[in-house]
Amino acid sequence: MANLALQAPHFVGRAVLGSLAQVGRFSALVFELGRGLAEWRIWIPRTMTEAYNIGYGSLFIVLLISGFAGGVTALQAGYQWQSSLPMYVLGTLIVSSIVLELGPVLTALILAGRIGARYAAELGTMRVTEQIDALESLGRSPSSHLIIPRVLSGLVMVPVLTIFANIMACVAGWYLVKQVLPITDADFVYGMQYYWRDFDGWYSLIKAFCFGGAITLIPCYVGFNTKGGAEGVGRATTTAVVSASVLILLLDVLLAKILLNN
């Protein structure tokens, strides 16, 4: 017990130093990203490829899950419905909850698993098989070849996918709520428009943009700093997905506090 108490400061010190080192490495990566932007001939074509991979490759799963989410929202709204409320409120409830919260957050969490895991595994494998060293040995910048295309494509494509997710979820919610409650299309559209503010759409996109940064930057950082062999790549992939998911939820709270002026 006494031995444990003696070792405690040692562990705390190591943890603090480790955290500071992570912050330093992450800052260095972000700094390198800024410098790498000058090499646009390198990163523009690669960004196009990555954007296609993220966008086209993820569209089906994003539409599928957002469709189910919109449907469940509508069914639960029907279950909790009070007949004293006007029907058009359902349009407001479903569309607002999808656009403000479900659309961007669900899309981001899906992509954290799909894209985040892939980026961490790709870069981790490149690190342990010396491919990143090879790039550096050729006097080339890993940031313009590997990191910038991934981060930029995420920043662009996550909002685009969120727009698709919002539309799909709203359509599914609209269709299913009509199956459980006697709401007309006119009521739904009226409710949807009555409380709609253009800022809601922008808020959804701003969230998606920030989530796009989290989904790409964190896995790229973790993958880029992978150590060890196959086990290290596995560890990096898990760390990347968990960290990106937690960061998405943290950003969700922060952005609601900052942008919705609560």
């Binding site: 410098r35 494998t125 090879a134 040995s137 050729l138 006097g139």
Partner: protein, 250 residues
């Protein structure tokens, strides 16, 4: 000229390099020998600045690698071709794109005709068929991957070539082919080369000079004759482990 002065490097508690002094003169081919795990590859990575020493200086062409700014280091690296142990080819790119990445001059890299011509030249230099350029690394054998790695390293016409275990994992026939290739490239391209290896026979075939790294230090540098004549116990033990009869060099 490549100069390493008093290089010390430790990873955690393990001291890998403990004051290494090592010089490679212009135009010569030096084999850096030593058992596995003695820090040969670590030493090679110091030359190109992929690893920084805890103590000591690495000087290439009069430039201290440890103090170079990012752009200057990138410029210096373009003068050095590095052949990685397992090829380190980019999986997602074809052989053509891999070799093209070795063209470190941006004007050459962006000139499609020049790239096609240079890639074909490099493939010919490493004895690979022209149609290999369409393949991906996963479709190549171990020996072919090593040769593509060499082709990528020479694509930018570097002044120095650093080989990290170019024959490891290959059968004797393929190892001999790679050794002959290294020797031919050194003669044809007139580059200065450092070859890290634990294959004594290959090193004796290729190198002008040899150095033995053991226990974090260079225990002997010299010609083949000096190695064979050495009475140092580490040298004798290392040579005798590979060869019962060291007269092969004759």
């Amino acid at each position: 000229m490549i100069e390493l002065h008093g290089i010390r490097k430790r990873f955690g508690e393990q001291v890998v390099l403990d004051g290494v002094d090592f010089v490679v003169r212009e135009g010569e081919t030096v084999a850096l020998l030593g058992p596995s795990g003695t820090g040969k590859s670590v030493l090679l990575k110091h030359i190109i600045g992929l690893i920084r020493p805890d103590e000591g200086r690495v000087v290439v062409d009069g430039q201290d690698v440890g103090t170079l700014r990012r752009d200057d280091l990138a410029r210096l690296r373009r003068q050095i071709g590095y052949v990685f142990q397992n090829g380190a080819l980019f999986d997602s790119m074809s052989v053509f794109e891999n070799i093209r990445l070795g063209l470190t001059d941006p004007r050459q890299y962006n000139d499609a005709d020049f790239c096609r011509e240079r890639v074909a030249q490099c493939l010919a230099l490493v004895n690979l068929a022209p149609e290999t350029d369409r393949k991906f690394p996963a479709q190549l054998s171990g020996g072919m991957r090593k040769r593509v790695g060499i082709a990528r390293a020479i694509a930018g016409a570097p002044k120095y070539l650093l080989y990290d275990e170019p024959t490891s994992g290959l059968d004797p026939v393929n190892a001999d082919i790679i050794d002959d290739l290294v020797k031919r490239l050194d003669n044809e391209l007139g580059v200065t080369s450092v070859m890290v290896t634990h294959d004594v026979r290959g090193a004796f075939r290729v190198a002008d000079r040899l150095a033995l790294l053991m226990h974090g230090r260079i225990v002997l540098q010299g010609s083949q004759e000096e190695f064979l004549a050495s009475t140092a116990p580490e040298v004798k033990a290392f040579l005798e482990r590979d060869f019962e009869n060291t007269s092969f060099a004759a």
